[in-house]
Each structure stands twice: as C-alpha cells, then as structure tokens.
Symmetry: D2
C-alpha cells in the first residue's frame, strides 16, 4: 500500500531511513507564485533539530535542507517541490547489541511482523528522523496559509507535571528548552528532566497547538472533517497516544449548558463567548482559534533492563544504550505545529476547489 503520502490537494510524500544516506520529501500541490527559499524552511527545522540542548538526543545533525525542484527565480512554480537532507551522524554501531531483540514499546516488533525483515539501525523508517520532513513541509504549508494564520505550539505537561494556564505567556515558549509557556513550570521541569535523564529513564508529555486567524468554512460535514483530519495528523506523529480538540476528553464531563459556546454580535461580527469546540463545529472551522492537544508517550529506549523476546523466539532482557531523548515530547512541538499547518493548507485548497 502506498502509505507514505499525506494530504489531498496539498500532498506530501516522505521517504528515507534514519541510517540511510539521506531523507527527503516531495511537496505537491503548492500554488504557483509564492516566494520560497531554503531559509524559509530552515528556520523551522532549526527549532526541531537534535542536539540543541542536553534534553534532546545528542545525535549531531545540521539538518541542512536543500530545495531540488519546484522553485524558479525565488518563487514556487506550482510543480512538485523536492526537499532533501543528508544524514551525517548515523552511528550504526550503537545498535549492534540490540540487533535481534525487540524493544518493548518500540515499533520494531510490529514492523518485523508486517514486513518480515528488520532494519535494526535506529528503527529505519519508523525513526523520528522522518519528522524533519514533516517540519520542512509544514514550512511550505505556512507560506500557503499566509501571515494571517498564526500557528503556535507549547508543551503543557511533562510527565505528571502540568502548567498553570493562568501563567501562559507565548513569549516564554522561546525562552526555555521545553516550549513551555509558563516560566515557573519550565524551571521545575528542568530539574525534573535532569533527574529522569540521569536515571536513564524517560517521560511523556502533552503538547498543545493553536492556530489563529483561520477562516470559517474549512472542512466538511461527514468524512473530510477538519477535526478528523487533525486527529489523524496528530495521532500519526511518532509516540502520540491521544488527541483532543477543544475541550477534548473533558467534554464528556460537561453539561450541554456548559459546552455550548454562546454567541453575540460584536462590532458587526459574530463573537463566541467561549471555545470548548476548539474552533471546529460539525467538522468545519468557525473562525475561532483552532486548538488541538496530543499526548506523547515516553521513549521506549531506556537504560533500565526490560523483559523481551528475540527474533528467534527466545526470552531475553534489553537495555538501550544509543543516544535518545529523555522526553521526545519536546521535539514533537514543532512537528505538531507543522502537521496543523499542513492540514489547514490542504483544507484551504480543498475548500477553494469546491466553494470558489
């Protein structure tokens, strides 16, 4: 099955393994005439890059993106944009020891059951390295959406540690290594994650992505719902186990009165008094902020030995010694932003196709 593309009119196909010569993607469906150069993409990749703090994998990857097609004289041509990043620091030796053992909680068992072969070098295709291409494509999606649409992400929970939503300052997200919008929480998390890291353990996280300035009317009433597509996009990010829109799982505990986002006219425009819907009703955007949240599980690669089995069906124990992230949720923030941008750009073009 040809399962490496995402999107309908703004369609991205990614390729590459973590330990091959390069990774890349083809971005198809971009409107012509949009200004685009490598730095427009590089700035977002730099946010996600490994090795930027002691809290993310120490793999050294400059992740320099190259545009190989689809741009001429500084503008998109409307033809496919091919992006490529060379892999540099692919130390396959780190993985020799776990060659025949499955890592509990890791994709390698399921992958082996599906394809009947095994690329043990860092997981091969299911590696988080593919997310670099999600981010790169997201940069182009932002260009399609234009400056009016603003997409921002934040980590709002690390392990069991939450933030104080009242202390939310977007500016803070750029000032700590966690994209945490609450300055105090960020300081606590630093000590906490050091502990986790030193113990060779790992921890999960919750990430929230907001898009403001999205026009009303994107999406569709039944199967092309904007929230359904966002849920698929976010759940498809490595290690994500839950996705929420607006009130999310908490909506179950609300009464109909609480849940209804009341409306008033204000300066000739419709104004909502709350946003439990997360900006989407019946699968279609309302013009309010789109709010999506997702939970990232802790990395499966930990130092503590775990019980497992081998490819030959024997019991074994395993401890992973490669370079890994104590909290993969950190690097999921720019990835979540990118997926939000891609879904919105796709729906913008789809809406324009049908409704003009």
């Amino acid at each position: 099955m040809s399962d490496n593309s995402f999107g309908t009119l703004f369609r991205v196909t990614t390729w590459g393994e973590s330990h091959g010569p390069a990774i890349g993607c083809v971005v198809d469906g971009t409107p012509p005439g949009i200004r685009l150069a490598e730095p427009d993409i590089q700035q977002w990749l730099d946010k996600r890059r490994p090795g930027t703090s002691r809290f993310v994998t120490q793999r050294r990857e400059p992740d320099q993106v190259k545009i190989l097609s689809g741009v001429f004289e500084g503008k998109t041509t409307g033809t496919p944009i091919s992006l490529l990043i060379e892999n540099q620091d692919a130390r396959s030796r780190d993985y020799a020891e776990i060659k025949d053992k499955f890592r509990p909680g890791h994709a390698d068992y399921a992958y082996w059951k599906k394809y009947r072969h095994r690329d043990h070098r860092g997981g091969g295709r299911p590696s988080a390295r593919e997310t670099a291409m999600r981010v790169a494509a997201g940069a182009i999606a932002r260009k399609i959406l234009g400056a009016r649409v603003r997409i921002r992400g934040a980590m709002i929970q690390m392990g069991a540690e939450t933030i104080d939503r009242g202390a939310w300052r977007w500016a803070q997200t750029a000032k700590n290594p966690f994209w945490c919008p609450d300055a105090k929480a960020a300081r606590r998390w630093e000590a906490y994650l050091d502990e986790v890291r030193n113990a060779g353990s790992s921890v999960g996280a919750v990430v929230e992505i907001t898009a403001s300035g999205v026009p009303a009317g994107l999406g569709a009433p039944v199967y092309g719902k904007l929230d359904a597509d966002l849920a698929g996009a976010m759940m498809g990010i490595n290690a994500v186990k839950g996705v929420e829109i607006g009130a999310g799982m908490g909506a179950a505990a609300l009464s109909g009165e609480e849940n209804a986002d009341e409306m008033r006219m204000k300066g000739g425009k419709v104004h909502f008094l709350s946003n439990h819907a997360g900006g989407i009703l019946g699968g279609i955007s309302t013009g309010q902020d789109i709010v999506a949240r997702f939970a990232v599980k802790p990395t499966s690669s930990i130092l503590t030995p775990r019980r497992t089995v081998t490819t030959r069906g024997r019991n074994a124990t395993i401890a992973t010694k490669g370079r890994h992230d104590p909290c993969v949720g950190i690097r999921a923030v720019p990835v979540g932003e990118a997926m939000m941008a891609r879904v919105l750009a796709d729906h913008l073009l789809r809406h324009r196709g049908q409704c003009g």
Copy 2:
C-alpha cells in the same frame, strides 16, 4: 471537495440528509464470495436505532435497510453494494422556530459559513442520522474480518460518572440501555440520566471500543498508521472531541519503564505482559487487543435558553424543542464499533495488497 467517502480499499461513500426521502451508502471494495443478506446488516442497525429506550431520541425510524446491488444469490459479487434506508418520521415542523438562529455548539453556524445556505431541518447533512450508514457499512466490514476478529464497545463514563473497571463484564453491555459493562454503574446512570433528561439538559460520555483477534502487521510506519486512521475515524463521529489509543492522554504521565509493554514467550508465542500501546506500535498492529476510546460532548440541543445570533446578524436566545438525545454517547457505541470494523477491514485489504 469529494469528502463523503472513507477508506482506501474498503471504501464507503454515504449520502442523504436527515429530512430528505432516504439515506444511503455505497460500499466499494468488498471481496467477492462473502455470504451477505439484509439481516446481517439489520442486526447492527437495530442496536443503534432511535426510540429503543427513553434515553434516546423518540424519533420513530424502523431503519429497515435494503441491499440494492452487489449481492447475487446470497453472496457478494465484488461490485459495489448499495444500501438504502427510507426516512419516515421526518417532522420538519419541529425546526421552524429555529430556522434563522444558530444553535450554540451545533454545526449549523460553520455549515452556513462554508456553503452559504442552510438546511435547518434537523441539521441536514451533518445530522447524526448519517451514522446509520456508518453502522450498516460496519456490518459488511465485520464480514470481511471474519469470526476471528471480535469488536465490542462499551460506555465507560457518562458525564462525570465513571465505571469500576474491575467490575467489567462484557455480558452486561447488552443488559442496560447504556452499553455499560459495570452493572452497578448502569443502575446509578439510569437515575442520573432521568434527571438530566427531565431538566431538558444533556451530558457527555466516554466510549471504549476493543477489537480482539486482529492479526499483527496491519498498518504502516509513517502516514497510513493504523492508530492515525482510527483516530481520524473516531474523531469523525458526530460530537466526538477526543480520541485515545491504549494508555491515551494518560501516557504522558507514565515513565518509560511503566509504558514499556514487556514481552515473554508463552507456548511458542509472543505474549505481552501489559497493553499500554492499545495493540498498536509504530502505527502497526501487534496482535494484542486494539483499544480505542473517545469522548462525546453533550448534545447542543437543550431546553435551557442560550445566547446566540441569527443569520441576519442579530443577537437572540434559543432553546431547542425538537426530539433529542440527553446523551448522544449512547448511540455512539455501535457507531464506534462500526468505524473500528471499517478501519480494520480496510487495513486488512491494504496489507494483503502490499504484503500478499
């Protein structure tokens, strides 16, 4: 945009409005030679049907499904199966009063922004009536999956009321109007929902769907992930605001040690010691039970007046007097089962296509 189909190889296209002459769907991609007759589908529709208890809408719809094509001499032919249900009790007069007012929390505002027109009669296309076709198509999906795969749903939370997971008995789900697996909780919920209903209010719910007997290897590592497709499928059900796989949002608070589902050999087979993954790792099924959960928000149609605006941009208040469900989550249980079946059937065919 052609957004009324779902699935890749097992592809279902639905059509119809709640107050038109009929609703229906076309089920494409079913393998040939499968025994299929109307009662195979009707049994699942009967589970979802309105009017079965005082806790669901009192609209009287026998919901008798007709097979119009794709079956010959009791077996599927491999060509599209057209299903049709006539609408009978479509009382449009109930909606006259709200003709020009948007219901807070309802799709009608977004729908109007998208299409610039309005079918006020029960919401038209975005009505929950479309879910009858989700269930009908799900019945065919179950046939493709065969008897080995068993899909069951349960309501595990109503409003703030949860169940005792230790008291879970699948057999109980058929013995109360809530598909509740905990007999005691079901009794409490009955009183609780009577209160909600009498107050003209509504309440949310959490539904859990389990599929056992699913072979390992379904799904794909990057964009055709089984969990991503399930998330899209579940979030696409009317009124759903959150989706979880396995540990779900709670995965954020786990440590890497807790989250790792350890493995042992047992009788020559791989055996997992826990199932935080919900049966899916790296987007691919592991052979464990697939576990998905989703939160349904409370119905937006309530008796309590809410502030809103009109299509002409004036402030107004609204109270909905039509026939509605105090807890739409109840009828979402068979719909969730059907979407699980459809995603799995689709992935079974997709896997077979690529991997033989």
Copy 3:
C-alpha cells in the same frame, strides 16, 4: 479495490447491475448554490435511453431519474447528490440459455476469472446499463461548467462508412438516429444498419466529442494531464478500443512543420491557425476546442453461432438471442459527452483549488 468511483474533486461513484432492482450513483464535490432539478438530468438521459429507434436495444426502460439528496429548495447544497433509476424491464429469462457459456468478445469470461462467480443476467455489473449513470452525472458536470462551455458529440464512422467532414452540420446530429453530422451519410447508414440488424450481426463506430469555451490552463504537466484523464475516461466507456486527441493516431504521419499549430494575435487575443493538438498541449488546455475521438467495437452479442467454451471447460457454440444493439456506438455518443463534461468539471475544480 474500490474501483467504482471516477474523478478527484468532482467524484462520481456508481452502483447497480442491469438486472437488479435499480442502478444509481453518488455525485460528490458539486459546488453549493447551483440550480438543479430532475429535468436538468432527465433531458440527457432521454438522449441515451434504450428503445428510441429500431437501431438500439428494444429493452423498455423509461429511465426516470430521482434525486434523493444534495439538493434543497432547488439548489445544490454542496453535499453528495444521490441519483437513482429503477430497473423495470429486466427479462432474466432471455439469458438462461447462455448461463454457462462465455460469449466471445464479452466481459463475462474475464469477470468470471476475476471474481470466480457469474451473474449471467445481461452481464450484471459490466452491462452498458451503468452508462445511464455516467450520463446523469455528466448532466451535473455541465451545470458546474456553466453555459460558456459547450459539449457536443457526433458519430463520424459506422463500420467502414465514414462521413464527409466538409458536410458537417451540428444541427443534423439531432435529426437522425445516429447523431450523424452529415445528412447524406445518415441516410446511407440507415439502410446499412438495417442490413446488419436483419443479419443478426453488429458493427463498430467512431464517435467524436468536442468541447468549446473551455478556459486555458486546465490540466497538469505530468500525471494529471487533461488528455490522459480524457483518454482514461473515454477508454473506460464500454466497448471502446481506441482514443484520440486532436490529430490522434494520424499525428504519427505528420511532419513537425505540419503538426505545429501556429499562433497569431487577433483582436488582442491569441489565435491558433490550426488545431492538431485538439486543444491540449503538454496536458493543459490551450483555450482551443478540445477534440476527442474514440472507436467502439461491435457488440459481442450476435445471432451467428461462434465457438466458445463453458464454465466447466468444455467446447461449445453460442448465439445470443437477447435484445441487443446492432451498433452500440450510437448510445455511446451521449456517454462520451458526459465523460468529457465530467473530466472538465473535475479539472476546473482542481485548477481552482491550486491556482485560485
């Protein structure tokens, strides 16, 4: 495989067998707000209907189309339009004799090899009856294209009998049972086809479809080429064996000088001095008339006994006595027009999606 849909943004899914209770289709992606009622569709179905002259099958089908969804208060809503035609004159007894024998040149052998079962009643799904739905969907496509785009078809060859292109009058196509634009040829064909019909034989045809008023810019340079999509659409019509755009197969014999459609400015607009390209260059429309042609083979159902085999692998002879068309090419004219309309409407929406 879900192979019963056609189109990307204007997407039509058809269903139904020639001898089942009904046939139908779901038309998805139609823009909202377009005036549409049953007579808009019926007028085109009446052109294709069986039993209109002695030269087409005598099956009596009023082919009355019903709109079941997607239209409210006389306008499209943007949601799927479900169309249905009841089958009335389905005389299955005509086919009893050929129950176990394959008709040479007919789909039934290949169909049986694929699906391992057999609906001998008039061929089941592959029957030409499905083309009624192609025509019905084409009527909606014309509405999307608007009055500026004019699509017309003509039969330009019957058996070995060709027309005099110098005598081409579009008005003539409505005045004879063959959609023949050359009045003299039509008279000759009448005698000729009577002979063929009385001999229980059949004959092929060439049909030409022209679309004028198509804006420049529809299509795409590599895989979404307008001519490639037209070729797929036309070759997909029952019994078609060849498709040409512009100069067609004859382009092989041209020199580069002859083939180049020279251009001049005329009244401020680009004017082409010839149209060997058939209105499409590099897969994209140029603004000239789009010209497509296709060859229809003779019906395989003939009275003359032919050698064949049975489903049990025995030699046999077969002669088909059911009601059939001596020249199926006649009824292919409105079908070809419809497919042209559908491909153009789809590309119009696709172009608008990407390029605004």
Copy 4:
C-alpha cells in the same frame, strides 16, 4: 492539485525540471523482500538515455540512478524507494533566444496560461527528461511482476513509413536504433530519418507495447478498468496523441463476427483463436497478451521558422536551435514499456488486495 503521482497501490511520485540540479521519484507500495540494486534499474535507463545514436538528442546525460532509501541488504523493505539522477549537461544558454516566444505545438503556452510564470529553460517540468523517472520506476514494477510477465516494445511506424508485420522479429528490436522489429524497415528508416534530421525537421511514430504472461483477472468492470488505466498511462507520455488496445481504432470497421475472439479448450486450458481484444475484456485481463499502441507526434522544436506570439502579445516567428530529437517516438519505446509495467504491477496489487 497534487498531480505528480501515478498509481494506486504501486504509486510513483516524480519531481524535477530538465534544468534543475536533479530529477527523482519516490516509489511507494513495493512489496518487501524483493531483490533490488541500482543495476536492475540502470539497465532500462540505458535503453532510454540521450546521446546513444545520432537520431536522438545529443544532450550528454550519463543518467546514473542512485537509490536513496527503501532497500536494505539488497532487498526492498516495503518502505518508499527514493531514486535520484543528477542533471549534468543542462545548457540553459541554448534557450535564451526563445525566452519570450511560445513554441507552436509545445507545452509552454498552456503552461504559462496555467501558472502565470515561465521556466523557458528546456520547458522545465514538462520536459521529456521526466520520462527517465518513468523508466526507473518501471524497472521496479517489472520486479514486482516477476519473470513470468514479459513486457516488450517496438516502433511499428515512423512518419508514414510502416512495417511488414509478417517480418516481425523481436530480436531485431535490439539491433537497430529504432526498436524496429522489421529489419528491412529499419534500414529504410535510417535513410529516411537522416533526411528529416538534416532538414531540421521532425517526424511522428507509432509504438506498440506487448505484455505476455499477465494473469487473467486484473482490472475492474467499471472505473478501474485495466484498459482505461493503460490509456491514461500511455496518453500521459509526452507527445502522445492516440492510444489503442488490441484492434484499436480499427475495431470500428469490424463486424461482430470478426471481432469476437473465439475460444477453444486446448490441453485443459482456455485458448483464444484471435486477439482483437488486446488481452482485455470488460476492463479485465483475459490471460492473452496485452497489446497497447500509441502515436507520438513530431517534436515541436524544429529549425523551420513558424509563426507564433510572444508573452507580451506580439506576433513573432520562431525556430528552435537547441539539441532535439528528430523522432521523439524512439525514446518513447522504453517509456511505454515502463508505463505498461507500472499499470500492471499496480493492478496486480489491487487485485490481490480485494480478491486475495
């Protein structure tokens, strides 16, 4: 619109312009475990490569393909295969003179109308250079089909010069620069094409592609017809204006008796006495040889001045002096073979998905 992919389960996305740094493609959906290395692909690219005789463009491109992903330890992994060829001899200066003039019969006018910008350097995306990637992907398709399926192409007409089908010897196609199966014709064509080339003119061609060993049952009865997909694939090759299956356009002139491919049992197997159908009935393969033919128009780039207009709407004349093919049909032979292989591989996987 995302129009740079082709195929459903075996899906190829190409990218790149003739004068950019590289061209490439992503091949998605390949089954795992197939032996594959660069020489398996290179051998087919070498057949198509420019500069191999005086009859094709003198552009010097070694066209060395690199596999960047999807292959591990000599076998496909089931993940996307990224292929890349660097452009080397991209002499942009050749095109300076025609920067603002449209070439009659060339895509550049339509392209400019669609995208409102212009990459005059060799045509950019619509350049025939993209066909290298069609051939490369076709090499992988052949691997999926296996040794049992044999795909071969031949040029059977150059300009008005045809071959003697009685003199057809497949071995001859490797012995002349035209893939001509008739040795005598090949000798005549050599003199003929020298004349054309020296005159700075160009000429069209007809190419025939045959696939033997294709199992019965590939395709679908209505919209996923094997012949419709082949027609789209062949018409999508640069400069193709007509496509035929089996008897092709000539089917129009046949009687029902002539057209019926009679059947007999022979050694326990079904044997057809003729193949007017070209191996496909009702859109589904019959087990006979699949036979497709297509006409290639003469190159639009010729030395003879032609009347045209400029991007600023002025009349002008143009003569193209770049390096070009006097008969692009020659290089279309390996491209046609590749497209046949890709359509068949896709349908093989699609059939397996639905019918097991």
